[in-house]
């Protein structure tokens, strides 16, 4: 059953045509990977799903993005609640200049959870989920800026998990992580699949192959091919896809 439906989506940054006639349906409780060369529009598409592109003035969008058959670009949509349903992890770690605890508790607090015990619980669960708990459990009051790059990114993942979203958007979430943490995160992603729909942008084709159920390959703002991961990597329909995944590209 598809939870996200993208239909004839075009996106412009000013005059620049960044997404061209994108259509795809993303299945509920599955993992979908977006792959493609740098600048092809993967991050841009990801951001249309939780309307983060609203923030960029020059963006113009046509077409429809529906979640559970509701067009999220419908003017009556409550963007904040939408984003609560859709967690996001960015390409660059961007912790708040607050303590580790406050970083993770930020989302739940925003959404009205005040109870200290409940917050403690959420923070612990989320940090465990992001494979960071053991390293920081004694230092929750420490500033997040004291962490290494990798630790910071894991903190950002924990922060996204803390709002318990339905869909999780991840923009190269592991590109700043070491293999151990990456592995943990990948395992976690697999686990989460039971409850969540996950969309992940990655440069690491092995990662896409390892974790995802379906993969979309982008080029210059277009979806070249979108199919089951196993099919796409073993037997792509398109020549371009094949060139890319075999590294024979460019």
């Amino acid at each position: 059953m598809s939870i996200v439906q993208i239909k004839d989506l075009d996106l412009y940054y000013g005059d620049f045509h960044a997404l061209r006639n994108v259509s795809m349906n993303i299945n509920e409780k599955s993992i979908t990977a977006f792959i493609g060369p740098s600048g092809c529009g993967k991050s841009t598409l990801l951001r249309t799903l939780n309307r983060m592109n609203d923030m960029i003035d020059s963006v113009k969008i046509s077409g429809a993005v529906s979640i559970n058959d509701t067009n999220i670009y419908n003017p009556t949509v409550n963007v904040e609640l939408l984003r609560k349903e859709i967690g996001m992890v960015f390409q660059q770690p961007n912790p708040f200049p607050k303590s580790i605890f406050e970083n993770v508790a930020y989302g739940p607090k925003i959404h009205g959870i005040r109870n200290k015990k409940q917050l403690d619980e959420i923070v612990e669960t989320s940090l465990r989920g992001a494979a960071l708990w053991d390293e920081v459990k004694d230092d929750l009051k420490k500033s997040a800026y004291g962490l290494s790059g990798g630790q910071q990114q894991r903190l950002c993942i924990a922060r996204a998990l803390a709002i318990n979203p339905k869909i999780l958007l991840m923009d190269e979430p592991t590109s700043a992580l070491d293999p151990i943490s990456t592995l943990k995160i990948e395992e976690l992603i697999q686990e989460l699949k039971g409850d969540y729909t996950i969309i992940i942008v990655t440069h690491n084709m092995q990662q896409a192959a390892r974790v995802s159920d379906q993969t979309a390959f982008f080029l210059n703002g277009e979806v070249i091919e979108f199919s089951d991961t196993s099919k796409l990597f073993s037997n792509p329909n398109e020549k371009k896809t094949e060139d890319y995944i075999t590294g024979r590209f460019g």
Binding site: N94, P97, G107, I110, H111, A160
Partner: protein
């Protein structure tokens, strides 16, 4: 060959760096030396007059009986309205302009307008306060009228400084917050403002200092030069320290010029306390990367 060239060039760059290091350091020292000279002059003149009586007496025609009590309380009364009010209005305006305002002609107009207000001479604010607060609003020549005038006077500085502080917060922080489902206001309140606070405080302190030291506009809106009672409410008459100091400095008798210096010392002590509070707050919030 190349190596030698590079080293020669490097020596030049290093020398340039050293020269400028010295220049920059001297610039800083220049300000400090100027401050030291001013302070020494003031301390030499005023320290002898500074005692408990000076703090607890009112103004008098006799230098040795003169004190600054009414002025201290007047300044405190005024700042207790001006500081919070200008802070709230200033930061609110800065938030509006940086976080909400679209880049249209109206908001650019407000922006230019604020920058321009920062350059309007203080006496003009005095005329404004006299017309609007004293006469039209009927507050009379009261603490309230004086405080509101001062609020308008220092507002542009707080706004501009706060705007710069808010601008400096990286967009990635805002994005992180929005992506967690925070609305704009929550993002401002919980992410933008805490990070911008050190900068905002710097601007505020500078402008509060200015409010504490201003004379001309307050004379115009009717802070009086001689009063012996303390205000009981915001509708009472008052005087402030710089007016008292100004009055003393203008008298012909030499002793009064020293009394004025004593007054300046008290004023500076008050500023110092204010700065100390702000620096404490600033360091508390300034978590550097």
């Amino acid at each position: 060959m190349m190596q030698l060239d590079a080293e020669k060039q490097m020596r030049r760059r290093k020398r340039k760096n050293t020269i400028f290091h010295i220049l920059f350091l001297s610039s800083t020292l220049f300000g400090i030396v100027a401050l030291a000279l001013l302070l020494i002059q003031i301390l030499v003149d005023g320290l002898g007059w500074l005692n408990w009586d000076f703090l607890t007496n009112n103004a008098s025609r006799k230098a040795e009986k003169s004190g600054i009590k009414a002025a201290i309380f007047g300044t405190l009364w005024m700042m207790s309205i001006t500081a919070p009010l200008s802070f709230i209005i200033g930061v609110s305006t800065a938030i509006y302009l940086e976080e909400y305002a679209k880049n249209n002609w109206f908001n650019r107009f407000i922006q230019t307008n604020i920058a321009n207000l920062a350059g309007v001479p203080s006496i003009v604010y005095g005329l404004l306060g006299l017309t609007i607060f004293v006469r039209v609003f009927g507050f009379g020549k009261s603490v309230l009228a004086g405080s509101l005038t001062m609020t308008l006077l220092i507002l542009p500085i707080i706004i501009v400084a706060s705007q710069e502080a808010i601008k400096a917060i990286p967009g990635s922080q805002r994005n992180a917050s929005f992506a967690l489902g925070a609305n704009r206001w929550q993002t401002i309140l919980r992410v933008v403002l805490p990070s911008a606070l050190p900068g905002i405080l710097t601007g505020s302190i500078l402008s509060f200092s200015r409010a504490v030291g201003e004379t001309a506009p307050l004379i115009v809106v009717g802070a009086v030069a001689y009063i012996t009672t303390l205000p009981n409410s915001v509708f009472d008459k008052f005087t402030v320290m710089p007016i008292q100091i100004y009055t003393w400095a203008n008298l012909p008798q030499e002793e009064f010029h020293n009394v004025a210096s004593a007054g300046i010392i008290v004023l500076l002590l008050m500023l110092l306390t204010m700065n100390a509070v702000a620096i404490f707050l600033r360091n508390k919030y300034q978590k550097k990367n």
